[in-house]
Amino acid sequence: MTETPLLSVTSLHKTFGGRASLARLLQGKPARRLTALDDVSLTLGRNEVLGIVGESGSGKSTIARCITRLEKPDQGEITFAGEDVWQARGAKLRGIRKDLQMIYQDPYGALNPRMSIGRAIAEPALVHGLIGRDGARALACELLDRVGLPRSVAELTPRALSGGQRQRVAIARALALKPRVIIADEAVSALDASVQAQILNLFGELMRDLSLSMIFISHQLSVIAHLADRVAVMYLGRIVETGATADVFARPRHPYTAALLKAHPHLEARRSQTPALAGEIPSAYAIPEGCRFNTRCRYAETRCRLSDPPAAAFAQGHEAWCHVLPDLENSANS
């Protein structure tokens, strides 16, 4: 990619304070800290969908929260359209807030149960002064059309809607500010399959019609495969592989990505006799030395326990942070 990305995240670090036990305090040891993000960098291009996939505790939601200024990163830089998100003040900050909108997994928790849908949708635009009081009704109708809900919904409260309809409302409200980037955190995970497909199609339409960019966070590989142009696979606070989705999923270069793909319940294949990956994700309070995946990796060698793997670059921006697999590939090719 030669053009400057719309959004870039560079060397992001974020830890959370653990509880200090009395014993540790008496021994003069500091409280243990949970490492949520450890040197994470990523970019998002214009009209691109970046998928972030990983299991619970991998740090995918923390990235979203740092970008939208809900969590202050310990280190690192987040730049949106040339502005540092965490340095911006005043009008510039308001501009950034307008342009970066989030959608969450549980739309019921994101909507005020006592506010009518119409008001909920128009409120952000009122707050940002994009419309006046008299424009609210028209805006709500326009956005309800956009997300495929009848206009009559504007009078209802969230309780009267189904889960899929509520997620459409949450999307309409995010769109009210005409954002340039939408960050969707597990936005379709709580929905039934038949409804999930409707919402995925809606995201597809929005991408096509509104020239949006999107960061789509999900634990469902198939959803990422469907929606994302590029994907970043996360493990324990770090990106372990990234590249074009089709490329990464067809030819994974990191053992963790390969295991995720194998563990995905395919419709066609019968289950294999052995699990794709043994063991569990280690505690984020005690991240393994060397490559953080080495405790579960079937390729692990001595060097994997000693040093963090450097990036191995493949064609078209495909990168993987692994000592062993890229070497195996190279020796197979030569």
Partner: protein
């Protein structure tokens, strides 16, 4: 293994209907459901939220939450009707012959007792073991379900284990009596995909080793596809399609099954954001069903006569049956 039609299946339900009560009044959560499993077989109950799959599973054990009740049909265990069994027989079957695991193992474990206390208590009650023997068997069971360092885990409390480990503990307790049938209600829904894979591999191994039958309830087509010999697709309390897994997935017959399979994004098809096929509308609210076929308001092939047709499978299990007389 085409034995679902053998004269006396391990467990069979015939025209089972369960009535429940919500704030709108009474409704049928399960409507004339018939199913059967035999030893070594696995049946997947597939459906979206509110379709009645979990309540069906509970009704098989006679465990319908009050004020709901079984309003019609029968369940037979090894050929004997539940209603003909004495209380002590029912207790023995529920405790020993049939085991059940749930989606959320945390809520099935008591937070103030150690894993060891809870597993050994189960063993002492179910198998009448002495404390020491129970402790040894507990360690052995934890080992069998792939819990590393079982001796140490027995001393831990539930909150000190991960979700995957807690589910393994539940499975260990469930298989302690070497049950003939395991009922699993969304056992991996709360788990990460690699842990889900581990748990399902474990269940498949146990099923193979003990010739255990299994009924697996899931909303995830992939999970059912990979782990079940037969699939029953449920919609609004009815089984609308039933058949060998392979047949149902390859050649779905009911419009709902077809719609569901087409709506799922596939891992193999990356990029492009080609529109997925969708099913219009949303799953019906229990208790607010249309007359006739419950799917007709969302069905692309619906005709006027759908409002009056009964919902019955056109072929009896184990054959591949569909409850839609319109789409062949």
């Amino acid at each position: 293994m085409q034995t679902a039609s053998s004269p006396t299946p391990l467990l069979a339900a015939r025209d089972l209907s369960v009535g429940l009560v919500n704030r709108h009044g009474a409704f049928l959560a399960t409507n004339r459901v018939s199913l059967a499993v035999d030893r070594g077989q696995s049946l997947g109950l597939l459906g979206e939220s509110g379709c009645g799959k979990s309540i069906t599973l509970r009704a098989l054990l006679g465990l319908v939450p009050h004020p709901g009740e079984i309003v019609g049909g029968s369940v037979t265990w090894k050929g004997r009707d539940w209603r003909s069994l004495s209380k002590s027989e029912i207790r023995r079957i529920r405790g020993k012959d049939i085991a059940m695991i749930f989606q959320d193992p945390a809520s099935c474990l008591n937070p103030v007792f150690t894993i060891g206390d809870q597993v050994t208590e189960t063993l002492r009650l179910k198998l009448a073991l002495k404390a020491k023997a129970a402790r040894e068997l507990a360690r052995d069971l934890l080992d069998q379900v792939g819990i590393p360092a079982p001796e140490e885990r027995l001393r831990l409390y539930p909150h000190q284990l991960s979700g995957g480990m807690r589910q393994r503990v539940m499975i260990a307790m469930a298989i302690a009596t070497e049950p003939d049938l395991l009922l699993a209600d969304e056992p991996t829904t709360a788990l990460d995909v690699t842990i889900q894979d581990q748990i399902l591999t474990l269940l498949a191994r146990l099923k193979e080793r003990n010739r255990m039958a299994m009924i697996l309830v899931s909303h995830d087509v992939g999970v059912v596809a990979q782990n079940c010999d037969f699939i029953a697709v449920m919609y609004a309390g009815h089984i609308v399609e039933w058949g060998p897994t392979h047949d149902v997935l390859r050649t779905p017959r009911h419009p709902y099954t077809r719609g569901l399979l087409a709506a799922i994004p596939r891992l193999e098809v990356s990029g492009g954001r080609h529109p997925l096929q969708t099913i219009a509308g949303a799953p019906p609210t229990p208790g607010e069903l249309p007359e006739g076929c419950p799917f007709r308001l969302r069905c692309p092939s619906a005709r006027p006569e759908c409002a009056t047709i009964p919902v019955t499978l056109d072929r009896k299990p184990p054959d591949h049956g569909s409850a839609c007389p319109i789409v062949m």
